[in-house]
Symmetry: C2
Subunit: 384 residues, 2 copies
């Protein structure tokens, strides 16, 4: 298979975008990415979106987005893996280029979540869980991740303060990201005293409901240089699934799909966790970042909480995690999140991240997951 | 890229399956395909499904289906292109194998459509159209295809009787297919006198609401022979999009995405329409089969109606179309349809189609489309 590189990225400010539709926010990001890459036609497109049917009463997104982007005719594929739909779109685009099938491919993600009520949105998101066995009992995602948090606290002594440290760190990073939905710093006290959602998780442990899109352009690595920007090479891609239901797992304090997808990506890239300079990970809840950073091997198992508290994962720490602000501060339009991670890593590797630039960033890792870890995608990107 | 072959197919009887869930009907077909192929583990899986969120309140189907199939851990990807989701799953699996990324890949499709009311199902299906411009006016698919029928009748003199001939022919074929939802013969009079849905289309011009699944196993062509069955090689794959809205097209009596996807598949296979022995095409409405058979080049433009009426597309005709009974008689669980086409073509090329066997079948074509032609997939399969 051919080497593949990212040559363009696009993303606008995320938030509650009541004045624009899903297709408009997608097209805005896609045009920015095409402009950044210096391309005006695409050979194919992949769109990551979790549930446009429930959120926006519109399916057939490949056709919709290719048409509205002025690229009607090209093969356009929508992929879905719940909140990992963006990561899956990136992997699919990677494969389309690596295989030799297509040259200039757009991978985009989008979700328009605020056109329905909060209760309806919670239901729509719950369809990422096992609706036949989990949904029927009324459990939604804060409840599932709260059970993981309780298990992790019990097993490893993770504390309420350590959970809060993740949110504080991500908001500090997000305050330097002009595209973040909630670009303000918060204190540990604010997190700990915020309203309870599902014990031990409070509202400030949870990522928000967001409208947003993001897009990147991938091409054969030998095309890099076209637009005069530094290239970013995709060296590893790992994808794994796990039981859809949390209750079918041996362990609530670890996510097998995360470890397995990482193992596959590391093997492909010829890298280990020690080689990674920084990572964008799926902090849909504070506990998720702690578990994921352990399962990726970036911190020792059970030490994710202390690492966050000690500043090891801060922007200037040993292994910066979520320099973008993560899902927590930047927002979490579910289908777009995995692509936004690649946008951030690309900008970091190009040295374009401004006030949130990670020092000496050469190798970045993106981890995006669906549900309570029923699927996970890991990508490794390296400066060329 | 490597040559790719189908080595196993699985499908059960379609219909109103009120006793089983989407995951169960998917797993049943997947197990049949794995058994047929003689494999018990998969390297990856692609699931085609249009809108499980609206039909069955369950997304994250890659994880759900891999888990329930006992293959948890493998990369499992759901793809969507409205009613062409099955064809897109097949193309995605083809690419995964052709690229060298994976060896044994399952492509499956599923839709569970009868767990909601008919009105809700009509709404769910309408999300394949442009909900922002078409849906808002209240138009649904029978209305869109009725407009195409009127244009085709006006332009080419296609008659009400010719539309009926398509339904009569497909039910005759379907009466020989034990897995068809409506395996009974019908008369032209019955079609013409059936209740009006959207002038000139009557209820017997329309494909039904169906629960069903289908699955196939694809592998590198050099693995064929493993299970002792004749291999079926995938020689062409074409995918195209068009405007999502019908009103944005230059021509209502033709579908550009169908012609373009066919052109791409023919070019890859080194074949022309003249080489095709038989085809499974997307007859969601009788007029659709007429237009598609023309746009594929299987009959002359404007002559699809007369060809059906004269028996040219019958099982023993010049170019048999929809030997399986098509969407009309076999049923149309939207995400499964494109895979079921490949099941039929494989069985025909293996000489296993029994009373509906096409004589001297060596090269078959599958055409699956989304919406009013906003996307189309064409595959060419050949006996090895």
């Amino acid at each position: 298979m051919r080497d593949v590189a990212v040559i363009g990225v696009g993303m606008q400010k995320w938030g509650e975008l009541w004045e624009t539709s899903a297709r408009d926010i997608f097209v805005e990001s896609a045009l920015l990415a095409m402009d950044d890459a210096g391309v005006d036609t695409l050979d194919a497109m992949y769109v990551g979106c979790m549930t446009p049917g429930l959120f926006a009463a519109q399916e057939h997104l490949g056709s919709v987005m290719a048409d509205y982007l002025g690229q009607g005719g090209i093969p356009a594929t929508r992929v879905e893996s719940a909140c990992a739909s963006g990561g899956l779109a990136f992997r699919s685009a990677y494969l389309a280029v690596a295989s030799g099938m297509h040259d200039v491919v757009l991978a985009g993600g989008v979700e328009k979540m605020t056109d329905i009520s909060g209760g309806e949105a919670t239901f729509a998101l719950a369809t990422a869980a096992d609706m036949q066995w989990e949904g029927v009992s009324g459990v939604t995602f804060p409840g599932l991740y709260a059970m993981m948090a309780v298990a992790h606290m019990d097993r490893y002594g993770t504390t309420r303060e350590q959970l809060a440290a993740v949110a504080v760190k991500n908001h500090r990073n997000g305050s330097r990201n002009p595209r973040a939905q909630f670009p303000m710093e918060i204190t540990a006290e604010a997190v700990i005293n915020s309203v309870k959602v599902a014990d031990p998780l409070n509202i400030l442990d949870c990522s928000p409901i967001t409208d947003g899109a993001a897009a990147v352009i991938v091409v054969p690595a030998d095309m890099v240089g076209r637009a005069g920007k530094p290239g970013v090479k995709v060296t590893g891609s790992g994808h794994a699934t796990d039981t859809i239901a949390l209750h079918d797992r041996d362990d609530f304090a670890s996510m097998r799909a995360v470890a397995q997808s990482a193992e596959r990506a590391y093997a492909m890239a010829g890298r280990t966790a020690k080689d990674i300079d920084f990572a964008e990970v799926h902090d849909c809840f504070t506990i998720a970042e702690i578990i994921v950073s352990e399962d990726l091997g970036l911190v020792e198992k059970g030490k994710g909480g202390p690492a966050a508290e000690a500043g090891e994962t801060a922007l200037d720490g040993r292994i910066p995690i979520n320099p973008s602000g993560g899902l927590k501060s930047k927002g979490h339009p579910v289908g777009a999140t995995g692509i936004a991670q690649v946008v951030e890593i690309t900008e970091q590797l190009r040295g374009e991240a401004g006030p949130r630039q990670v020092k000496d960033a050469r190798i970045g890792l993106a981890q995006n997951m669906g549900g309570s870890g029923g699927s996970s995608l890991v990508h490794i990107l390296e400066a060329m």
